[in-house]
Every structure is written in structure tokens, then in C-alpha cells.
């Protein structure tokens, strides 16, 4: 209860309530997340259950189109394998969100540790680590992600890759995007490390790791929080892009990106709904995260990114 009060009494919450854009995007995001993680409860079908899928149901149009083969069981039509679009999308969004959040957790872990060490220790180590981050960043995260997953697929083979696609994608995207965190954290550590409280901690003889992780780290969390929202959106985008070019989730466990891909193969025959609905879901998901991130950045305004 006290925790709840602390949140509702905060400036952040006050500001949030006065920004219709923030409320709107947060509501949409909450709705999407609840719908996707509650998919087993809400979805009319289970796309992973082979026994309920009938190939004869493949490529049925949405019911409101009035086409002769539209089926009342499938509100948004079906995909090329006869799975209901609505259910498959909900399950697919869960995969996308899981990968997005997982990748951000991984990249923030790597990035924060590297950024802290580089910023606090300084010297040669810092120059090396930051140069590495710069070089990797100059290749752009998409490029790095595409290359690593291409290599993984080459090493493990297509079959194994699709069996472990979820974990591998988290690994790939997490590794591709750590420099963002490392740079942000390092910049804040540089600003923090000469302040009195750090001096004081050093004077009383605390070990270095304790100063870094218990004293400096909490004070660098604001910018980390801000880029995290945008990074989740980026990670979801990367995942969709990788799945679209066939380096991501397999059709048997579709994410939004692989659904769009499977629809693209049928677009010439006029089956627009297979690509369009997951596409809309993806854009709304990313847009709501980005808008929320924009609001958070404007609120906290730590002059981070000039994108």
C-alpha cells in the first residue's frame, strides 16, 4: 500500500496523468501486453495445437469481407497453414514481446557492466572498450544482428537454429545492441565519479566493485531507463526484420515478423490479411512503446540522444 502511494504521489505519475499522449499509449501497450500474454485464455484457438488445425481452412479471408469462403470461426481469416489469424497473432505478439524484453535485459546487463567498468577505471581499458563499442555501433545494430544470426544459422544448421530460435534471437539482438547502454552508462559514470559521495566512499576504504555497483550505478539509472523503452521497441523491430528475412522464428512458432513473411508469399494472390493484421499489430506495439519512451525522455530530459 505504501509502495502504491509512493507511485501515485510522485511527480512522474502527476506528469503522466496530464499527458493524454502518454496515457493513450500506455493504455494501448497495456492492452496489447495483457492480450498477448493472456493469449491462452483469450485466443479462440490454440495455434500450437496441431489437432485443431485443418489445412482445408488455409487462407480464408476475414469474415466481414463477405467472401463465399469466409468462416465465422475465424474473425480475421486464417494464415497459409489454416491457423486463425487472431489467435496466431496474439501468440505471435507474445513471442515478439518476450524476445524484445529478453534482448533488452541481456544488452543492458552487458552494457551496464562494460560502461561502468570503462567509465570508472578509465585509461587504456576504457579506450579499448569504448573504441570497440564505437566500431560495433558504426556497423549499426541491424547489420550486426543479421550477420551474427546468419553465422549462427550456418554453424548450427537450419533445424537446430529454428528449435532454439527464441533463445538465440535474444542472444543475437542482445549482443548487437549493448554499445548503446555502454555509452550511456559510461557518460553518466564520468559525470558521477568525481562527486563528493564517491570520494567519501573511496576514503572510507570501500572496495571498488562496491563503489561502482552500489554507489554510482543507482545514480546512472535515469538515462538507462529512458533508453530502455526505445531499446525494447528497437529489439522488437530487429526481431521482426530477422524473422522476415528468414533468420528468425520458424513458421511453426511464429512471431509477428514471421507471420508477415508468411503472408508476403501470398500477397500476389490477393491474400492481404495475412500480412496486414500482424503488420498493424507490430506497428501499434512499436509506436506505443516509442511514444511512451518519448514522453519519458521529455519528462526526465537527460539530454541523451539526438536521434
Amino acid at each position: 500500500m505504501r509502495f502504491f502511494k509512493k507511485i501515485t504521489g510522485s511527480n512522474l505519475f502527476y506528469n503522466f496523468l496530464r499527458d493524454p499522449m502518454a496515457i493513450g499509449s500506455a493504455t494501448v501497450l497495456l492492452f496489447l501486453i495483457v492480450a498477448s500474454f493472456g493469449a491462452p485464455l483469450f485466443a479462440p484457438h490454440n495455434p500450437y495445437d496441431q489437432t485443431t488445425i485443418d489445412i482445408m481452412d488455409a487462407e480464408l479471408p476475414p469474415i466481414w469481407t463477405g467472401a463465399a469462403d469466409a468462416d465465422s470461426r475465424f474473425l480475421l481469416g486464417t494464415d497459409p497453414q489454416g491457423r486463425g489469424m487472431l489467435s496466431t497473432m496474439l501468440y505471435g505478439m507474445r513471442v515478439s514481446v518476450l524476445i524484445g524484453v529478453g534482448a533488452v535485459v541481456l544488452q543492458s546487463l552487458i552494457g551496464i557492466i562494460i560502461g561502468l567498468i570503462a567509465g570508472y577505471k578509465g585509461g587504456r581499458l576504457e579506450a579499448l572498450l569504448m573504441r570497440l563499442a564505437d566500431v560495433q555501433l558504426s556497423f549499426s545494430t541491424y547489420m550486426v544482428a543479421i550477420f551474427i544470426s546468419a553465422v549462427f544459422q550456418g554453424i548450427f544448421g537450419m533445424g537446430v537454429y529454428s528449435d532454439y530460435a527464441l533463445g538465440l534471437l535474444i542472444l543475437v539482438i542482445g549482443f548487437a545492441e549493448w554499445p548503446q547502454y555502454a555509452r550511456t552508462v559510461r557518460a553518466s559514470v564520468m559525470a558521477e565519479k568525481n562527486k563528493e559521495y564517491v570520494e567519501a566512499a573511496r576514503v572510507i576504504g570501500l572496495p571498488q566493485w562496491r563503489i561502482m555497483f552500489r554507489h554510482i550505478l543507482p545514480n546512472t539509472m535515469t538515462p538507462v531507463l529512458v533508453i530502455s523503452t526505445v531499446q525494447v521497441a528497437n529489439a522488437i523491430m530487429s526481431e521482426a526484420a530477422l524473422s522476415f528475412i528468414g533468420l528468425g522464428m520458424p513458421p511453426s512458432q511464429p512471431s509477428l515478423g514471421s507471420l508477415i513473411k508468411s503472408g508476403f508469399d501470398y500477397i500476389a494472390s490477393g491474400s492481404w490479411w495475412i500480412s496486414l493484421f500482424p503488420g498493424i499489430a507490430l506497428v501499434v506495439l512499436i509506436l506505443s512503446i516509442n511514444l511512451l519512451g518519448d514522453w519519458l525522455r521529455d519528462y526526465l530530459n537527460p539530454k541523451l540522444y539526438k536521434d
Binding site: 579506450a127 569504448m130 573504441r131 566500431v135 555501433l137 558504426s138 556497423f139 549499426s140 541491424y142 547489420m143 543479421i146 550477420f147 546468419a150 553465422v151 544459422q153 550456418g154 554453424i155 521497441a233 523491430m237 521482426a240 526484420a241 522476415f244 528475412i245 528468414g246 533468420l247 515478423g257 508477415i260 503472408g263 508476403f264 500477397i267 500476389a268 490477393g270 492481404w272 500480412s275 496486414l276 503488420g279 507490430l282 506497428v283 512499436i286 509506436l287 516509442n290 511514444l291 518519448d294 539526438k306 536521434d307
Partner: protein
Amino acid sequence: MFAFIIRRITQAIFVMLVISVIGFAIKQSVGDPVREITGISVSVAERDALRDKLGLNDPFPVQWFRFVKGALHGDLGNSFKYKRPAVQVILSKAPATLELVLTTSILVVLLSIPIGIYAAIHSKSWWARLAMGGSIIGVSIPVFLTAILLIYVFAVWLQWLPSFGRGELVEIFPGWKSGFFTWSGLAHLFLPTISLTSIMLPLFIRLIRAEMTETLQTEYVKYARARGLKENRILYVHAFKNTLLPVITVGGVQLGTLIAFTILTETVFQWGGMGSMFIKAVEDADTSLMVAYLVFVGLIFVVVNTVVDVIYGYVNPMIRTGGGK
């Protein structure tokens, strides 16, 4: 300045060496060249002899050195699928990608600068808000989705424009088949260019607006105002000049993003460029071609970034001295 250039070039060479190690490691771990050459009906002893002859039993550094030596002579191995040197395959695909990138860059430069500046100056106006709102939506729509939408509307539904391939090509000089000189080539170029622009343009509008807003708050702009200079002169001569510099550096970094998006766009439109070639190479497990593409793209990055850095160092003396890491 000389020392600065030397330092940058040393760094560039170092990065290329690292790329070559990665590329070589990929080549080592994926696929077995002996099996590719011999097939299944060759005995183990013969295979071992061949392995020895090809130097595949040498230690890693020795083989790597041989790989780098070959790469310097423009030899990155043969493509398994095309049965040709990988470098040749890449060079034959490069014009397609370059033409797509060129038209996109022209569009982005022509549109992003006026829109970005306008959005920075009149940040409260409805047009500026529209531009910024549009750009956040543009950033949130993945390039392949825009592409699919365009294909559906213009190729499947309206049937106005072609959706795949490059159309009729004209060989302007040996090895460079251009689509710029035929109507069919231009029509085929239309949708891919629009898709690629739709994702790159918002990035640059946002960047230019942010830089311009920042410049407008600096002391020297205030001073120029206080001196009573004409507003247009302050904006377009004084402020814009200093906006361009960071835009050029970040623009260099965006090259990577551009190439990644080119891969996606080319895949959707079956554009016969390097990007779709790379994805096919991955599907066919054509390791040599994959590695050659990695090295080739790495080289482009390193060269462009080094040149951008050197230009930047030339224009902005603060970067040259040791502090600017």
C-alpha cells in the same frame, strides 16, 4: 593533422584485420571445403592428401595469413553456388544496390534538410508537428511492411507499377548495367526507392531538427540576433553551417543502417543487388560468398567512416588533438 590522419588510418587497418579474423573464423567453422570439392565417393586417404595439399592442416594463424594475402589480391574464394570468384559475383551485383542507394540518398537529402530546418524553426506550428508526428510513425513502421503495403496497393491492386526485379537494363559501361535509362528500369526503381526513403527520411528529419534546435540556442546565434542581422541570414548561414557537421558524422554512422535496410528492401522486391544476394547466400549456406560480403561491406564502412572522420577533423580542429576520443 598529419598525425591525426595516420592514427585514423591505423585504426581503420586494425578494424579491417579484426573483420578478416571474424570472416576467416566463419569460413573455418561453417562447411568443409574438401567435401565441397570432392563429393562423397572419394576415400578418406585421398581426402586427407587433398587436405594437406590445400594447406587445411596448417595452424590457424598461417591459414589466416594466407586468407588475408588472398583478400589483398582481391581473392576471397569461390562462390559455391555461382561457381565464380565471390568478389566477381559481388561486383556484378553492386550496381543494382548502388543505384537504389543513390536515388534514396538524393531524395533523403533533398527532403530532410528543408523539413528538418522548418520543424526546428517553427516547432510549434501545425506543419512542424505533422512532420514530427509523421516521422515517429515512419520510424515505427518496419521497412519491409511499407514495402509490402506499396506492393499490394500499386502492384497487386492498382497494377500501376511492377513489384519485382529491375526491368530493362542498359549496359552503360562494362559490368555496370543501369536501370536509369529505360522507362521500365525507372518504373521498377520507384517502389523500392520509396520504401527505403520512408525509413531513412524520418531518421534524418529528426536528427536535423534536433541539431538545429540546439544550435539556435547557442550564444553566437543570440549575438547575431543582437547585432540585428537578418533572420534568414542567421538561420541559413550562421546556424545551418554548424548543424551540418554533426549531421555528416551521424550520417556516416547511418550508412550501416542504410545497408541493413537495403538488405530488407532488396529481399522484398527481389532486387538483384548485394543485399538479396547475401540472404540467398545464407539460405544456400554459400559460406565464401557470405564472408566475401562481410569483408566487402566492412571495407565500405571503414573507408566511409575514416573519410568522414578525416573531413570532420579537418573542419573541426578540436577533434584532432588527443582529447577527442
